[in-house]
């Protein structure tokens, strides 16, 4: 053992302290030893010391690779330490493959939340056994004993109003009791079977978000749902994390650079994204790129964690960021497109954006014109079938309007090889402005003033019978960039504060200095010009969670498109808000939708589902017309948003489950008996009024959702916007909302109004390893394995690797993996189905799908409503597509555990590209074995989580180069040989990762047709580089990135172009009204719910380590001024109250906060330290207690190019940023 240096007192001091020294002489001072000359230190090596406690503490038996499968996008690989069979702690893995010698690496990845995870393994909040609601289980046992049948017992309890009321009103009020697995599974299976028989499969639903973080755990449950015909609910749009601007502009859900590509940026704006807190493992790239000379701008209303490594901090008022971006766009358009032309920018926008495309102008009374639809070949007299899907532009050399290659018509035409961005000799004309050009005034909305309309001139020309201009000319008008010779109202200069678009105008709105915005716009563009597009904007929830986030984002994206930054390494948008990336997409998608056995699956947009079924629409008193542009024709006037939801469903835009107001198995039976084809039968039944849509009468008992299973999620505590309405209407539990229902004159006209139901769900089933707000309200809680107790796969868009979960220990107590639980449930369900359901026929309606023929269903962006018109209802055209699906309910378990034949027979289609995994099916049979007999006889087994992981990897292009190569070959056929996409595919063909590879070390994903960017060992992933480098079109109407959207509903809101829309004035809309007046001083403030440093969504917020580093319970961050106004000191208890509910929290007073805005960090639940509210007398609510769902009508559009549904791709966002609340200091005496 080593000795040590003992530092003792100086000689002088020793002399002075002789008396004391004598006392201690025995052990220390007078020993002969080696010393320093000044006698300061003594060196000893003869003494033994005891340092073994720390050696023993450090000793461990093994280290296992795993990660965290929560809805976090980190996808960090961790070492889990095990000692004596117990998990002790975790540290990060550091063995990521190198991303290059000239850049930093991805090691280590992880954050304090992840490092605190092992606390859950043995925590007192661990769910150790199955639990059930006591009153329910008593009634169930009683009924079963009497009736002798589980399904009959369930039927009795749920149909007896008193019994139903008893257990529903007990939800969330304690009273859970331990039950055994057999009984828990029997109750769950009985509930499913009863619901299938009585109401239909689409009255069941599954909710489990963010599959990338634990693909197998997600897929096994989703596969179960798909096999029984239950819809899976989307999450990305529901979380408001989906940037609707992405499908609108790119025709892509979200595709963003890996964080290693931030390094490539020469100019970086962190806009509403608090990277150190929300992207902790990636934040180092920003600090390191700064040393490479990157300039960093942070835009954030508070002095956020990100701000401290910014070169400049802009702090516009919350929600006004769009005005900053519009003003930057104004500067860039003026200085880089009008005053001079930057060749790189001009070339880029001509090839890769819709700016040169022609738009018809429609004359209005009063002499102005409105921007109308894209001019298409059909308008030029082209009779070809898809002519209406070929927008045109002007060829500069000839002055003729022509449709270039690459439009949506080329994507779906029988003639292949033209879907590309090869312009050949075509030179698109960007502007029609020329000497002697005609011009007209267009009417453009401004939303910063009531009823604001601008008249600004654009150059025009007549093509056929249409007066047209270019998107570029309209954009200059919208942004207020004057050019000589054009009529209308134009800004006098940058300092004209009255004219929308100018830097001075934005300063008035945002408070950000005009000079600063002007300078940053110049720097941004200058950097992009010098570097060919290496300027990047990292965007976050701070700018994305708003009602009008699509307009905010489109104004950001405009900056990137104008400067040629998109599709370039180191440039473009970097949206990090709940985004995630299942890199092995094709395999996961195939297996999770059970498309290998049955097609199509039911996929539901989350927001309209909850909006309808939690009855939040009943409290909405404004007409959708309140959102219309003053230039709009008034399509929404007097219509309630729920009417628009119903219209969207019947037009096939958004999916809607339950679909019909009858059991779809019953409809299937009738259809089958009719012997007719599903479309014709449905069209006729609908036309005859015999087939009705459930969403038109959502409160009728036959149209309620009945069984909901939540796993890998905490719906009630986390994402449930309008939380109190969930409790009241969906669950039938007590709540704290005080809002009143809309008065009769403000109610919907097309959707039926009934007495409000309380308690729609028969069963809320949750799988979790810890108690959450969801488990507290669940009827059945099944104990799930933690992330350290199972096999699974993880990937993200923030790094390019796929890596494994491996169990460090077996699930303790009675816990089981999600995989085992769903298989057990499937077995029980299959057993109970025998003799009850057997083989049934299911009429499945699906929305018109993006990346499929559904996206060319409704040309021109019109609203072909067949209700009360002479337009015929036609499934797949003016209605949802329909199909008849055979379901053998006795075979669900067998099919769940085997790979079905349809993938080989019909192919796997991802984003419009179909590949056939014949070799992979054979490989899986060899690797996994095959089913011996039964319905899956001979098929490859997927009966363990490892095999499911193997299948995901084998069936995906990113992890199986053969699949990638085949996909690129198919794409090359569509795009033409000049695209060189086959060459790209061939270069990838040898890439292959199997599950054990991902257990050894994170494995890099390969480029694939599943994604839009090229990647490899020598380059970082950046989206759309395949588009820019291979001339592959974007999945949009023009095949280019869109500034302009021409759908009728978009025009109604006046949002054809990027435009500034302020946060909603909720007071004026009658929304978010203050709660009952209370005692004492109050402030009314904007209520923001950004992500916390101490939790990842719902997880970790009750973790003792995190609470210790935070403030020990729910807090609201409040400015010094606001705190002073209501007499609040730091750590005082306060209450935030509005009509939607009540939050009780402590105040964190900080000068970091701007006055007028408070932060209630996301998902501070009721779990820890939440007292009873003074205002309501009941437990304070979760962060979403003060929010309520509001749907933006344009998010409901479908059947039109990129504005078409796909799960988590297009759909209304569950936005919540526009909320306001009243805050008071409450009594400091609290009770629990």
């Amino acid at each position: 053992m080593p000795g040590g240096i003992r530092t003792y007192l100086t000689k002088a001091e020793r002399a002075a302290d002789t008396a004391a020294a004598r006392l201690l002489a025995a052990g220390t001072l007078l020993r002969r030893a080696d010393t320093t000359p000044d006698l300061r230190a003594v060196y000893r090596d003869e003494e033994k010391v005891n340092d073994s406690p720390y050696r023993q503490r450090w000793a461990h038996d093994k280290v296992v690779r795993s990660t965290h499968g929560v809805n976090c996008t980190g996808s960090c690989s961790w070492k889990v330490y095990v000692k004596d069979g117990l998990i002790t702690w975790e540290t990060q893995q550091t063995d990521y493959p190198s991303v290059g010698p000239d850049r930093p690496e991805y090691e280590p990845r992880g954050c304090p939340r992840g490092a605190a995870f092992s606390w859950y393994t043995y925590s007192p909040t661990r769910v150790r056994y199955p639990h059930a609601r006591g009153v329910l289980v008593e009634m169930y046992r009683d009924a079963k004993a009497r009736l002798g049948d589980p399904v009959a017992a369930w039927a009795e309890i749920t149909t007896d109003p008193d019994k139903r009321r008893r257990y529903q009103s007990a939800r969330g009020q304690g009273g859970l009791v331990r039950v055994e697995w057999d009984e828990a599974l029997e109750i769950a299976a009985a509930a499913h079977v009863h619901t299938l028989m009585t109401y239909g499969p689409d009255r069941i639903a599954g909710f489990s978000p963010i599959p990338a973080m634990s693909m197998a755990s997600h897929a096994v449950g989703a596969r179960f749902m798909s096999l029984i015909g239950a819809p899976m609910l989307s999450f990305y749009d529901w979380y408001a994390d989906l940037p609707i601007a992405s499908p609108q502009v790119f025709g892509d859900q979200t595709d963003v650079p890996e964080s290693g590509d931030w390094w490539d940026a020469a100019y970086l704006m962190l806009w509403g994204s608090n990277v150190p807190v929300t992207r902790t493992p990636d934040a180092h790239w920003v600090t390191e790129a700064r040393y490479r000379g990157q300039k960093v701008i942070v835009v954030s209303p508070d002095y956020s964690d990100a701000t401290k490594f910014a070169d400049e901090w802009l702090h516009p008022h919350p929600g006004t960021d769009g005005a900053v971006a519009v003003a930057m766009g104004h500067v860039i358009l003026r200085e880089c497109f009008v005053q001079r032309q930057v060749p790189y920018f001009t070339d880029y926008v001509k090839r890769f954006t819709d700016l040169p495309f022609l738009v018809s102008l429609e004359e209005q009374g009063g002499g102005g014109y409105l921007p109308g639809r894209f001019l298409t070949s059909a308008d030029l007299g082209d009779q070809e079938e898809l002519a209406r899907w070929r927008p045109v532009l002007l060829h500069a050399a000839t002055g003729r309007a022509v449709a270039p290659n690459g439009t949506l018509g080329d994507r779906w035409s029988a003639r292949t090889g033209r879907w590309n961005l090869d312009l050949g000799t075509l030179d698109p004309e960007l502007t029609l402005l020329a000497p002697g050009a005609a011009s007209v005034e267009v009417l453009l909305p401004r939303f910063d003033e009531p009823d604001g309309v601008l008249r600004r001139g654009v150059p025009v020309r007549r093509v056929g019978d249409r007066l047209v201009t270019t998107v570029f000319d309209l954009l200059l008008a919208q942004y207020g960039v004057a050019r000589p010779g054009l009529p209308g109202q134009w800004p006098a200069g940058y300092d004209d504060a009255d004219a929308p678009g100018t830097p001075a105008w934005q300063e008035r709105i945002t408070s950000t200095p005009a000079a600063q915005v002007t300078r940053i716009a110049r720097e941004f563009a200058a950097t992009a010009e010098k570097t060919n597009g290496r300027a990047m904007i990292v965007m976050g929830a701070g700018t994305n969670h708003w009602f009008h986030s699509d307009t905010i984002y489109r104004s950001f994206l405009a900056l990137l498109l104008l400067t040629g930054c998109q599709g370039v390494n180191g440039g473009g948008w970097a949206h990090y808000v709940g985004q995630e990336k299942v890199r092995p997409l094709a395999g996961w998608q195939q297996l999770s939708t059970a498309a290998d056995w049955v097609r199509p699956s039911r996929q539901m947009a989350g927001t309209p589902y909850w909006y309808l079924h939690t009855d939040q629409w009943r409290y909405e008193r404004f007409s959708a017309g309140a959102l219309s542009s003053p230039t709009g024709p008034g399509r929404f006037a007097g219509r309630h948003t729920v009417d628009l939801v119903a219209q969207s469903a019947r037009l096939g835009w958004m999916p809607s489950y339950p679909t019909f107001s009858a059991n779809s198995l019953e409809l299937g039976r009738r259809l089958r008996e009719s012997g007719r084809d599903p479309s014709g039968w449905v069209a006729d039944e609908t036309a005859a009024g015999r087939l009705r849509f459930a969403c038109e009468d959502p409160d009728a008992p036959e149209n309620w959702p009945r069984v909901l299973t939540v796993w890998r999620a905490n719906l009630i505590g986390s994402s449930a916007k309008g939380n109190e309405y969930f409790l009241r209407h969906l669950l039938g539990a007590p709540d704290n909302a005080t809002a009143e229902e809309a008065p009769p004159q403000d109610r919907p006209r097309e959707v039926a109004w009934r007495e409000a139901p309380r308690g729609k769900l028969d069963l809320l089933l949750s799988l979790d390893f810890r108690m959450t707000s969801t488990t507290l309200f669940s009827d059945l809680v099944l104990p799930a394995a933690t992330w350290y107790e199972k096999h699974d796969l993880s990937s993200t868009d923030l790094h390019p690797f796929v890596h494994a979960f491996t169990p460090a220990i077996n699930p303790p107590w009675h816990a089981r993996t999600d995989f085992e639980i769903f298989h057990a449930l499937a077995r029980k369900l299959s057993e109970l189905a025998a003799g009850r359901l057997d083989v049934a026929y299911d009429l499945v309606a699906t929305a018109l799908q993006h990346d499929g023929p559904g996206e060319i269903a409704q040309p021109g962006g019109a609203v072909p409503d067949w209700r009360d018109t002479d337009i015929p209802p036609e499934p797949g055209r003016t209605m949802p597509a329909v199909a008849l699906v055979e379901r053998d309910y006795t075979a669900v378990a067998d099919k769940l555990a085997a790979f079905g034949p349809l993938a080989e027979q019909q192919g796997m289609t991802v984003k419009g590209v179909t590949v056939r995994p014949g070799p992979e099916a054979a490989w899986l049979a060899a690797r996994c074995g095959t089913a011996g007999d039964g319905p899956a006889k001979g098929r490859p087994l997927l009966d363990t989580d490892v095999k499911l992981c193997e299948a995901i990897l084998a069936l995906s292009g990113t992890t199986n180069g053969r699949i990638a190569a085949e996909g690129f070959d198919r794409l090359a056929e569509r795009c033409g040989p000049a695209s060189r996409l086959s060459d790209l595919g061939a270069s990838l063909a040898g890439h292959r990762a199997v599950f054990s590879d991902t257990q050894d070390r994170p494995v890099p994903a390969g480029a694939s047709f599943e994604w839009s960017g090229a990647e490899g060992h020598d380059r970082r992933y950046a989206p759309f580089t395949i588009n820019t480098e291979h001339g592959k079109p974007w999945h949009t109407l023009t095949g280019r990135q869109h500034f302009y959207l021409d759908h009728d509903w978009i025009a109604e809101l006046g949002e054809q172009l990027p435009v500034y829309r302020p946060p909603l004035d909720l007071g004026a809309l009658g929304e978010c009204l203050p709660g009952a007046p209370g005692e004492g001083k109050a402030v009314t403030v904007r209520y923001l719910t950004p992500h916390s440093k101490w939790s990842i969504h719902s997880e970790y917020q009750e973790n003792l380590l995190m609470q210790t580093l935070a403030r020990g319970g729910p807090v609201i961050w409040i400015s010094v001024d606001d705190a002073a106004a209501i007499g609040v000191a730091d750590n005082d208890w306060i209450e935030a109250v509005n009509a939607n509910g009540v939050v009780v929290a402590r105040a964190v007073v900080s000068h970091r906060m701007p006055p007028g805005t408070v932060f209630m960090y996301h998902v501070q639940e009721r779990l820890v330290n939440v007292p009873k509210s003074q205002a309501a007398g009941r437990r304070g609510g979760v962060h979403n207690a003060l929010t309520k769902l509001l749907i933006k009508p344009t998010h409901l559009i479908g059947g039109y190019g990129q504005l078409s549904f796909a799960p988590n791709y297009y759909g209304p966002t569950g936005n919540q940023r526009d909320a306001v609340t009243t805050i008071r200091r409450r009594s400091q005496e609290v009770s629990y």
Partner: protein, 456 residues
């Protein structure tokens, strides 16, 4: 000359994102057990802020470290008699309140609450006495400027620089300061221990508590000016950061270093002349303490040093490590790392690169181009983070070394920006910072690429 080797650490505060991962991994590994609930060997403080334990830098109150008496070093806590006299009622011993009273929650309530009339919650409960409690202070109470001007004004350093005016929204500043034991060359905790239980290991300089000899006098707790020795109230013995010696001995970095997701921690061997330490710690002018400590370090490339070190029995691989020590580069070659509170005269061995940012902001309002090299240099004294504040932390109040370090960082950025944009770097920028282009690029490699095997 008595060459000795020490494992030392440098933390680049410019890269610290204040995520506290280091705190959590350290706590999980070492102190999540009975008696050490309140103990964080590694903690991260938001600056400005009071820190943990609160106000630890106030040596007028805590009397940690050394002071000069008639030109000689004496413990600030006073002589041995005074310390023995106060053995049982040590006025300089922080109370639990100064750390915080650790708590847990009645978590079980979430599962076992009987059917009632409201949603179950888990109220807080003290981990000290098991009674219901209210959470009124924690180990990280000031995180991200929480508490506002009223509380942050109690920041000891801020009081010294009288810069409370910066506690407003428009001029807000903050950075994070991760802290572990300094493993000092002249440790006052070791000197304070009446039992001889504390020692500094000869082979690597790690300061430890011998768990057998410790009698729980707690003089080390008050003697340490960084308040990085803690009292385990279950075992009755002192505990402190061990520099993860079981890992260091196995050639692995400390837990806090390896798990630092900001990649800002560097570990390496420093050679120093033990015979010079006493003198260096006793220089009269506090501003001279930093250069004096630099003067203790030995150049690992110097043949004389190598010979003496070999003669002193320092193994060859340690000398090799010293030659490629990133810590030595940052401290002695580029001089961008600085000691924390050299005025405590303990000769700390965990050093810090001061935070650079945000730099251009102050210029924005003047309309200047912040990227212009001249402005970058000129802007050092208009940083959001006041140089005077940093100087009070790192150089006993002398702004010159802090400014010099910041200039080198700024010069590196300017130089690399030119390369990034494909332009010719201006050699004047490097020269003005006292380095040449090649040195800036090596520094960039170490700070920016920061590969695993070059950090440790």
């Amino acid at each position: 000359m008595r060459p000795m080797a020490q494992i030392a650490m440098v933390m680049n505060l410019d890269k610290c994102i204040g995520c506290h991962t280091c705190s959590v991994t350290c706590k999980q590994t070492w102190t999540n057990r009975a008696g050490t609930e309140y103990v964080w060997f590694n903690n991260v403080e938001t600056r400005p802020g009071q820190g943990y334990p609160r106000g630890w830098q106030d040596q007028d109150r805590w009397k940690g470290g050394w002071r000069l008496r008639n030109g000689r070093l004496v413990p600030r806590a006073g002589g041995r008699i005074r310390r023995l006299a106060t053995l049982f009622a040590n006025p300089e011993f922080p109370r639990l309140d100064d750390y915080y009273e650790p708590w847990t929650y009645d978590y079980d309530n979430l599962i076992s609450a009987p059917l009632g009339d409201d949603v179950p919650t888990a109220p807080p409960r003290s981990l000290i006495d098991g009674e219901p409690t209210a959470v009124t202070w924690g180990p990280n109470w000031d995180d991200d400027l929480g508490g506002g001007p009223e509380q942050l004004a109690a920041d000891v350093v801020l009081r010294k620089v009288s810069d409370t005016v910066r506690l407003d929204y428009e001029r807000a500043f903050m950075f994070h300061l991760p802290r572990i034991c300094e493993h000092c060359l002249n440790p006052s905790c070791v000197a304070a221990c009446p039992s001889g239980a504390m020692y500094k290991r000869m082979e690597d300089g790690i300061v430890l508590v011998d768990q057998d000899r410790c009698r729980g006098w707690r003089m080390c707790v008050s003697g340490c000016p960084y308040k990085k020795v803690y009292f385990n109230h279950q075992t009755g013995k002192a505990e402190k950061c061990t520099f993860c010696y079981p890992r260091i001995e196995a050639g692995e970095p400390t837990v806090c270093s390896e798990t630092c997701v900001g990649r800002l921690r560097y570990l390496g061997v420093m050679l120093y002349d033990a015979d010079r330490v006493g003198e260096a710690a006793a220089v009269a002018d506090e501003h001279d303490l930093y250069p004096a400590q630099l003067g203790c370090f030995l150049d690992p490339e110097d043949p004389e040093v190598i010979a003496a070190a070999e003669a002193a029995g320092i193994p060859h691989d340690w000398l090799e490590s010293a030659r490629r020590s990133p810590v030595y580069q940052l401290i002695a070659r580029y001089r961008i790392a600085l000691p924390l509170h050299p005025e405590y005269r303990t000769m700390p061995m965990v050093w810090y690169v001061p935070p650079l940012s945000p730099i251009v902001d102050a210029l924005a309002h003047t309309g200047h181009d912040g990227e212009d090299a001249g402005n970058l240099f000129g802007a050092i004294d208009t940083l959001r983070i006041p140089v005077t504040y940093l100087a009070e932390l790192f150089t006993a109040g002398d702004p010159a070394p802090v400014e010099a370090a910041l200039r080198r960082l700024a010069a590196m950025r300017t130089h690399m920006r030119a390369i990034n944009l494909g332009e010719e770097p201006d050699p004047a920028a490097a020269a003005e910072a006292g380095l040449d282009a090649a040195a800036l690029e090596r520094m960039y490699r170490l700070l920016s690429l920061a590969k695993y095997d070059e950090r440790y």
